[in-house]
Symmetry: C2
Amino acid sequence: MINQKNMQLGKVRSVIRELFEYGKKRKAEIGEEKVYDFSLGNPSVPAPKEVNEALVELIQNSNPVFLHGYTSAQGDASVRGAISDYINLRFATSLCADNIYLTCGAAASLTITLNALLNEGDEVITFAPFFPEYKVFVEHAGGKLIAVQGEEATFQIDLQKLQNAITAKTKAVIINSPNNPSGVVYSEKTIKNLCQALNDYAKKFNTEIYLISDEPYRELVFDKNVKVPYVMNYYKNSVVCYSYSKALSLPGERIGYIAVNNQMQNWQDVYAAICGAGRALGYVCAPNLFQQLIKKVIDKTADVSIYKNNRDILVSALTEYGYTVVKPDGAFYLFVKALEDDADAFCERAKKHELLIVSGNSFGTPGYVRISYCVDTEMIKNSLPAFKALAESYKA
Amino acid sequence: MINQKNMQLGKVRSVIRELFEYGKKRKAEIGEEKVYDFSLGNPSVPAPKEVNEALVELIQNSNPVFLHGYTSAQGDASVRGAISDYINLRFATSLCADNIYLTCGAAASLTITLNALLNEGDEVITFAPFFPEYKVFVEHAGGKLIAVQGEEATFQIDLQKLQNAITAKTKAVIINSPNNPSGVVYSEKTIKNLCQALNDYAKKFNTEIYLISDEPYRELVFDKNVKVPYVMNYYKNSVVCYSYSKALSLPGERIGYIAVNNQMQNWQDVYAAICGAGRALGYVCAPNLFQQLIKKVIDKTADVSIYKNNRDILVSALTEYGYTVVKPDGAFYLFVKALEDDADAFCERAKKHELLIVSGNSFGTPGYVRISYCVDTEMIKNSLPAFKALAESYKA
């Protein structure tokens, strides 16, 4: 018998993927422009032009044996140095190249970190709504995911609920801010309270609790006055899992990193465990061409103003039509209260208006839906009458 | 406590890496050209020129949102189709796109396949000498690696020893031909005997035994009359783990695939388990730029004649000096009998002649050493007096 758990994982399509496939079929039936597909989180803004320029320059002017060759498992030292320098510049940390481990994107950053930290039976806390793959990643690493509901209406961390969830088995807490699916950014107050609680309970249970900050959406923030606190400045036992997928619109190229806080007492051990976990999972190194690229475009970001514009159009229209919307400060998702208790039923009704939106049940928060607005602005404008009609269908 | 097993894995450098680091230090001391470093398996031949041409063409003429965007987890359907067509053309199989799963290289192909197939406690057989990471990969997937010594002198499979090793717990057998570290190519007779044994024992134990063919060196074969049998033509329950790292000299870019034999009774289940395992390990998709590249250069190979020339120089000189050499038909490794029983001691003595070669103990076959000849031909020529002096030091 082959591995049944992995077979089931491979057979059961995620709800999001299922909806996306439905959308493809529906578009073929009634026409591309008549289906409003808000299902996927695939960046719609192209990579900044400097990305392709730098790629061509690297390919044309580098020694190919070096450019396409193995790097050390943790990544090219000069690339790691450029990343630690850039983090230090932005967040007043004091990291060095040896705190950075380059990865094949955010999912790899998380699986490697979890396999480095967890022992069989350990618990990992996260906050709902949350990215559903967290459960898959934590379970593969031998752990158990504990989801704690965020505060109603704001989706900041509910401190009381967090405190109730921490046990002697809590090995790590995953946060994701800006958040998929809510778009919420955790305030400095939220982060401070979280870190205080983790310190208190680590002391109480005489253990270490690691804070894993999953940050693929860090650069996708729409207002200058919104700050995304850098966890290393608040908590010693912290690890940042970063990805360039959304920041540079390179989701298919798989490039990101893990940064281990050098203020952590045993950071060398954690870094070694990350190297070991990467080895055991089969990650030989991150793609070298994209490693070298990062060094050249480290301060570039895809044009976020397009996402901001999309957000503004949707938030304003949906509010006008009577929807309850948590205005997102970042990422490219809108988390909206369903107009009936059963979000699945609401999503089915939305389909009748050719609106493809994802039920919050997938993200551990019932009664809400996720709208991905990393789509063409024209499609959003064209979809508004459908959102209006959907709302009106509940008023009858 | 963090994960101790992964921490140890990360802390203990492999013998090969250790030697390579020693080499760097030694070169700084006495000069680059005075150290003969045969430690690493890093291709020294550049990628064929069509690779960089195709990369630039893709970057300059594709829609960047598509080119750098997510593909489905198993890889772009058109790329998978091109690969299955090409396999069918070469090996008279009847695969389709849905038998192919694109990966981040050979290590990922193996870890994903092993996590798809194994349950806790399952046994996986391989043949010594073998690539030492097999043990790491099998153990992470919950299995136990059983190494069976190859035949003395030829390193073909010793059928009797194999039969003694198969148990009711044997879930899979990994073969690697052309082989790292011996360079040996399994003959058709070897493959037929192996498959017969696997069929017999699977029947005897009323179980399935999967044959995993790890093929990063398939294209690195030096003589037209040497054929590398394609396992799908001999065994139904077979999975091919392929990588373009060596074939196209792209080891740092991480691109390869898993091909699941469509003659396998439950191939859809195995394929689903591969998709699930890829998900659980954090592999979102293989790098898209390199996926698209493969479609354009599918029939290209790095210039193997350089490796052949290196092999010929070394085999002829070492034989002349009195070494016992298994003449390799492929890959870029030479497996040579140490001139004393203790291969570790022999490698230490080689160091005194500035020769950096790897003890066979690392590969599960004591008494031999591995010489990687994916190096500059001039260095090989310059190293010959050192090999001669080393041999003579044993004759005194």
